[in-house]
Structures are given as C-alpha cells and as structure tokens.
Symmetry: C2
Subunit: 333 residues, 2 copies
C-alpha cells in the first residue's frame, strides 16, 4: 500500500488539496469550508489511513517540530536521565527530540551540529564540549535557537541551564570537614570547562575557610586516560605519608572508579576514609557504606531547558538567560 497524500484524499472526495489541507488542519473556520465536505474529508482521511508527510510540511512552513539534544555521552546515567526527561517534556509541546552523542569530542560536535542543522531542527539543547565555543558561536550567529545545558561558556552570552556547581561543591566539601576530615582530596577532570572550575573553587574555598587547604591534594584526571589516572590518584592520596581521610569526587564517572579503587586497596568507608560524590548513583545504595552525594535536579533541568528553548523558537528574540538550579546534598546514604 503506497503512502497516502493529500492529493489522494482530494481525488477521492472530489475537492482540491487546498480544501483537504484546510480541513485536516482545523482551519475550516478561516478557510470557510462547508460542514458536510469537512466531514467527508475527515472520514476519507481516517479510512485511507492518512498520515501527513512532515518533510513536506516542514519544508513548506519552515519548521520541523524537531529539537536536537546533543550530549557528551548517552551511556552516562546523568545524561541518559536528562535525555529521558527532555524527551518526555518536549513531546508535550509536539516536538520530537533527536538525541546525539559527541563523546566529548569537539570535532564530532561540529559534525553533529552540521548534520542536524541540515535536517532543519528548530532548536538545539547542547551539553557542549570543552573547546566547543567556536561551533556554538557559529550556530548562534546563524540564528539557531540554542540552550546550553549542564555547562556553559562565560564568554558567550547564550541561554544556559546549569546547577550552582560552586555551591554544591562547597557544601559537599563542608560536609567532609564537619565530619572531622583534616586531609581532604579532590578528584576532578583536568579541563577549563567552567562547571568543573566551579566545582574546584567550591572545594578550595571550603578548605581555605577551614584553614586546611593543601594544593597537592587536588588530583586532575585526563579524559583520555581516565582509568589509569584515577587509579594513580587514589593510590597517591590513600597511601602516602599522611593519607587522605576524605575525598571529594567531582563527577559520577570519577566517583565510580575512584570508590572501586579504594575498595581494592581495602580502605574502609567511612572508617579509614570518607567520601562525597557529585551525582547520585544507584550503585551507592548497593553497599552499606555511607556515600553522601550531590543530587542534581535532573527533571527540572530538562524542563527548564525545553521551556526556554521553545520560547526562543517562538519569540525569535534571544535575550540570553542564565538559569541556575540548586543541587541537593544527600547525606543519608
């Protein structure tokens, strides 16, 4: 059975495609189509199982009702959850979401943006890569509605939705201090992304205020050699002369590998060492160790991103907004 088009319906009912289009789009009033004909058309459409061709529609009206979601890694729970909520919410407004990965590669982000642009998506929600300003800037110049999510570039005035990473990190570190830790390490990625820098500052400031900051307790992880770097860092922190009695893990991936390593070294949590992690993880409930963590408001982040993106799409005037949500420190784990 070939695809049914407006034309097929028009022929069957004996009217023009214009009439059919008007009726099926609920514009009988403004199009002044008679009740009987309208009914006939609707019936025929149903009978023939008509489904509009959205490519044609999009081409004509200049919108595709599609938004692009570009994340760094869909297999990361945090992003997968974000994707889930964004999709659920966007659907309510009639938008289809195309999810794409960049694997933290700026080059890939460039390619992906080009592909999606040529698919005429109406807007972009992007978790940008570190060196990605260039592509994001170009995209903005080209007039595409954009919302950055989870990360942003202070230099570029562009809408973004993030959590207050500084605050979350500060509170997390404070918890370790209040638990009595004196020797607190940080495991964090080595990059210039502001959200990472914010987390670093949060940690640093909390320790400075307590008067126990030691620069060499900060261990930076390279994205290309995550596993080895984490192992080495944990080994250094946990097995030195003055071993750490607390560690703040700045991302979920780092947390997982870091804690695994601690367990391998037979460190007991919290007896030998305390930890606080960024991002909640199902695995934490899996052990009896207390693993306080910073829970990001994922559903809200997704919803806000969709809301302001749609606003941009509708309004066309893009007054950049900075939206900052607060994370929750979960201490009962």
């Amino acid at each position: 059975m070939a695809k049914i088009s407006l034309k097929d319906i028009a022929e069957k009912v004996g009217v023009s495609t214009a009439t059919v289009s008007l009726v099926l789009n609920g514009k009988e009033k403004t199009g002044r189509i008679g009740k009987e004909i309208a009914e006939k058309i609707r019936l025929a459409a149903k009978e023939m199982n008509y489904e509009p061709n959205n490519l044609a529609r999009g081409l004509r009206i200049g919108r595709s009702n599609t938004i692009a979601l570009i994340v760094a890694d869909i297999s990361n729970t945090f992003f997968a959850n974000l994707a889930f909520h964004i999709q659920e919410y966007a659907e309510k407004f009639g938008y289809t979401v195309i999810i794409t990965n960049t694997n933290e590669s700026t080059e890939k982000m460039g390619k992906v943006i080009a592909t999606l642009k040529s698919r005429q998506v109406d807007g972009f929600i992007i978790v940008p890569t570190e060196e990605g300003e260039k592509y994001i800037g170009e995209l903005q110049k080209a007039g595409s509605p954009i919302v950055l999510l989870d990360r942003y570039f202070p230099g570029i005035p562009i809408c973004h939705v993030v959590v207050n990473n500084y605050h979350a990190s500060y509170e997390g570190t404070k918890l370790l201090i209040e638990s009595g830790c004196k020797n607190i390490g940080l495991l964090i990625y080595k990059n210039q992304l502001p959200h990472i820098q914010d987390r670093k500052r949060g940690y640093t400031d909390a320790l400075l205020k307590a008067g126990i900051f030691q620069p060499d307790m900060i261990k930076e992880i390279h994205y290309e050699s995550i596993q080895e770097d984490i192992m080495r860092s944990i080994d250094e922190l946990a097995q030195g002369e003055h071993p750490a009695d607390g560690i703040f893990f700045a991302t979920n991936t780092i947390s997982m590998s870091g804690i695994k390593r601690l367990l391998q070294l037979n460190k007991r949590i919290p007896e030998d060492i305390r930890v606080v992690c960024f991002d909640k993880n199902e695995a934490f409930e899996f052990s009896k160790m207390p693993i306080p963590c910073i829970q990001q408001p994922i559903p809200e982040m997704g919803r806000m991103a969709v809301d302001i993106l749609i606003e941009q799409i509708k309004e066309k005037k893009a007054a950049p907004v900075h939206i900052e949500l607060y994370a929750t420190l979960l201490n009962d784990m």
Copy 2:
C-alpha cells in the same frame, strides 16, 4: 544571515540550480559539467557556507537517511548502551538515529511509531512492548523496514536480533546448582514476552534436570509495582521455613532492587545466599560480593540490527531473519 539555498549559489555563479546540484552531489561526470564551472560552484558553496536542506532533499528522493530507534527506557543502562552503539555504527553509513522511549507502554509505542512514520524515517529498530504486535504488524504491512531488538514475537515473521535467553538462563542457573545451591529462586517479570519466557524456561529446565525444581520458588514481578513486588518476593524467598540459598535475577532492574533488599535483610552474599544476574552492572564491581552475571553482547547486537536494517532499506525485499547471539556468563565478579 538567511539560509543559503542552491538557488543562491546558482545566481551567484550564473548557472542553473541543476548544475549546482549535480556538482555538489559529485555527479559532474554523468552530468557532464565543465571543470571550471564545477570549481567555481564548489568555491561559492564553501564561501557562502552552504548547507543542503535535508527536508527538501528527503522529500524529493523519498528517503530521509534517518532511522528510528524505539526503546523501552533510555534511562536503563542496557538500552542506553544499545542506543550508544547503534548511533555510532549507523553514523558510519550516513544515517541519523532518532531515539525514542515508550516506557513499556504499548499505547505510547503506537503514537511514537506514527510520529516517526510521518517524519519519513527510512526504517525502524524497535524494542517492542508486550502487547505491541498490532502496531508492529501494521508498520510492516505499510512496508517499513523493521528490525526488532532484544525481544520478538514468534508469531510475526519479522527480522529480529536477540540473545539466546534460554541458553543464558540455563547456564546461569546451572552455575548456582554447581555452587551447591539446592533451593534456588527466580525473580522475573510477569508477562508473556518470549524473551522473558525463554529465561524462565532456561531456569526451569536447569532445575528440572538437577531434580530440584519447585514451582513456588518462581516469583513474578508486575511492572507497575516493581519495588513492592520485589521486596515481598525477596522477603518470601529469604525468610521462609526453607529459605532460598540461591536466586537467579532475570533482568537488570530486578537484580538491583533484589540485591538491595537482600542487603537490607542482612543476608550475606555468598555465605547465606548466592545470586546470578542477567545483565552486567557497574554497581556489581562496587561491592566485594561475588555477583556472577550474564553479559549480553551489546555492541554486536546494535551492529547486527543496523546491518540488517540497512539491508532491508536497500533491498526492499524483506526476508525475515532470526539472529541469535550468545551471552557470556561472567563468574569472576
């Protein structure tokens, strides 16, 4: 800056859009376009930052170079990983992947299929819901290329890629038996999906062969009340007169909650009770408990699905294939 079209380039260079189209599609040979003009066109296209409109292109050539991936839950690691690999692989063939959730709702699957069809996707990779035969059947009748993934309907001759669930389950249960368990429970969803039934049969047959099958050791979980059902089931299995000394968990979601409950009941693994889980989970490496698990070949599943889908798209003749991969039992965890 408005969008650049073929026409803009044509005007600038002083040729027809046909010429531009031929050149930019690399058909100068067959289109017999002069070298100089071709060069000029390519230059102009680059200068003007031309990006083809894929809606128009798709409308004209009847393909969108897009495939739809419909999964039950993108926030489930198993599906998120599948999605990741499918996307990576499909990209190599120039396909964009649209990922969508159904949340195990057949109604939603129907809606989602309609939406995607109207977006003219070239083919579907679907993890179908339990009662979804109807929609899948209709989709097939409409002539859409389809590959079912992870699950299938024995009644409908349609391409699918699955693991040998029976075998995996049999082996997993056998491991428990060989470890000395006499009283082995099963936690599994209550539904008629063949892959679930296969897992059940694998468990049953292994126990029958060992002569220790007891029907009431099978606990069925309702999807709508997962948490409560799992709790109750674990409580029944672990705390009865003859408490279970082994449990086979039939899915990753069930495993997580099930083991959490066992820990809450202060059961020691493996001293008090042994477990085997379907699907590998990062969390397992998190504890020192030995948790053998069945690892599905996710990348291969994804690749196979893409391969046979593309074949269908190209060939148009859809000889249904049944592709069965083998899972690996990981015992060193």
